[in-house]
Symmetry: C2
Subunit: 420 residues, 2 copies
Amino acid sequence: MKDFDLSKTVRKAKQASRKLASLSTADKNKAIENIAVGIEKNREKIQEVNKKDIRAGRKQGLSDALLDRLALTPERIDSMIAGVRQIKQLPDPVGEVIDMKRRPNGLKIGRQRVPLGVIGIIYESRPNVTVDAGVLCLKSGNCTLLRGGSEARHSNYLLVDIIREAIRDYLPVDAIQILRDQDHSLVNNMLKMDEFIDVIIPRGGENLIKMVAEESTISVIKHYKGVCHTYVSDQADKKMALDICVNAKTQRPGVCNAMESLVINRDLPADFIEELLVTLQKAGVRLKADAEMRNMMIDSPVKLEVAKEDDWGTEYLDLILSVKTVGGLDEAIEHINRYASNHSDAIITEKYGEAERFLNEVDSAAVYVNASTRFTDGFEFGLGAEIGISTERLHARGPMGLRELTIPKYIIYGQGQIRS
Amino acid sequence: MKDFDLSKTVRKAKQASRKLASLSTADKNKAIENIAVGIEKNREKIQEVNKKDIRAGRKQGLSDALLDRLALTPERIDSMIAGVRQIKQLPDPVGEVIDMKRRPNGLKIGRQRVPLGVIGIIYESRPNVTVDAGVLCLKSGNCTLLRGGSEARHSNYLLVDIIREAIRDYLPVDAIQILRDQDHSLVNNMLKMDEFIDVIIPRGGENLIKMVAEESTISVIKHYKGVCHTYVSDQADKKMALDICVNAKTQRPGVCNAMESLVINRDLPADFIEELLVTLQKAGVRLKADAEMRNMMIDSPVKLEVAKEDDWGTEYLDLILSVKTVGGLDEAIEHINRYASNHSDAIITEKYGEAERFLNEVDSAAVYVNASTRFTDGFEFGLGAEIGISTERLHARGPMGLRELTIPKYIIYGQGQIRS
């Protein structure tokens, strides 16, 4: 489609966003239910079109992992539909009024949640993002401008067609649009349209996120990597430390809240450290340790590879773990604040003062005492679905749910007050 | 100073920010009191150095308005000191825990306010910003990297010296630094240092803000212009409408929350409209109206100039007012959402439904019923001092106080929970 008009598209989005912002929750929910119905009705067509993407991807030589992400199996379509209905059930954050107070001059001043406006979502491969992100934005009263990866374009275009058809009776259809042209220069142009787009959320690898942050004149909510640490204090409950470390590392190693680095207090009994490392090794984890730990374990059955400087701060997303030895809490916090990605980090300790200091001083979006970092997730935190996990320091840190897709504006009830 | 090292400066800031984040309120308050004392002790020196800036500015041919902004009179130094002590009195937002809940698995999950980190402040002329912004950031646990206008550099450098000397006993001195080199390329470099600087707040004219938004890879909190509207409904209390409009336009026309555009319902009695416009005119306001209003007032003593398309959306910052005629609430809201700068807009009405619709549908940081837009201000809203008024849609809308210089991170109290 040579005649795709980006400027017209973003203008339509901005216009639709005004209407969407003041629609009732009931209308939004009816539209969302209709989306679930629409996907259900079109499941065969979706799979057919998805196969076209997969055939093209195979021809292009995409890796099996990428092809797998691309695939919309019947089970994935089921869970897409279930996801849509879950979002429908979530409370609507729009209109919530917080902090209402009466000032000495009688003005009643509060803050009312409103949508962010038009959200640009730039993402790779997984076509389910089209539906997840689109419906989350819609429920929170935001318009979405989607730009998916070219390898998923047929699936994405069809899903957007289905959504637009489904919402037509309740909402402006331009609440959801997708860039129907895969030209790369379009993304660069889109990232400069700060007059019409209010936020950009990139979802994908580090290179995509860096490119977006550099090019965009629009505010970007970044979701960088998760280099999560667990510090096992000499005051830790040993059984608990063992269970948590194994869970954090091995339960699902390929995700951003999995542990990538184990920080161990050197005053722990050597036989416990050995047990911990052996257990991880038996679970299939390759261990890369500093010199001190390698020396400590020199006569043990634990096989420790050399951790190089690069290993600290590396997100393996695999059954590989870096192991750092420290002398105590200060050193642990310093190491973590230096090498972590400000995502999720945990301490295992029974000492009250250590727990509190760790919570206060570790500079990450989610800081844990005595639990697996694997819990960092919108559902687990009770937000419902999430649009991503922010590693930004502005607007939102950690899992972003519907609330984080809104922002409070001030509303002021007066009775004729003037300023003197 | 040819040897100013920006890269070293930002690294020191990042380091200091770690310490600053976990300092006690008591220590921060002692340091802030010492800043007040330090400014008091050095007032003669400050005036002397400030005169150097003014002499240089005069030689350079700066306008009287700019020279006035630059000047640190004894009264301005008094109010600088008073401002510092006011910030000391404000509650410290750091450490506040909100939304703490227990999840079904027993995890206690809450959100604890932490500083944003390192804040870069890029500003023009007024040297009091050096102290105001620096102390607000310090109280909220943030490190500040200041970059002031070259015309105020002697004053700014001295004020930063005084602050650093004053805080030395309680805080890392690098909590506050100023770029001691006025080279323009430094700003561009600073705006790319997203590894060390967490937020950029520009304070100055539109050109400065645009440049910063375009160049920066760091998140920017913009404070654009204020094109504030007041809509007088046909359901308005007439005496109230008169008082509010005169106040909003004339009480201090040069500021961002002053009214720039009056939106009038055509069904109001012509003699009331005439009275309103005559009153504004008598207060020295030049009126630029649309054709309908000019026709309506053709036989009246009101002198109406022609409002051109450009006048809608113009921030006069002067005793000039654009006047738009509308048929009702819908048209008023549409006009305001189209031309306002999303700062502060008001409706004057006695009709309940109109008031609520205006509050819900006008897309501005502060939306008023029956009050002057002049109240949009950190002090008036009860936040204490403000670092600015955000016209962004992310992180904060409207006046930004200490709370808006922090962000909640998640803290999680576990008892050994692992994910299944």
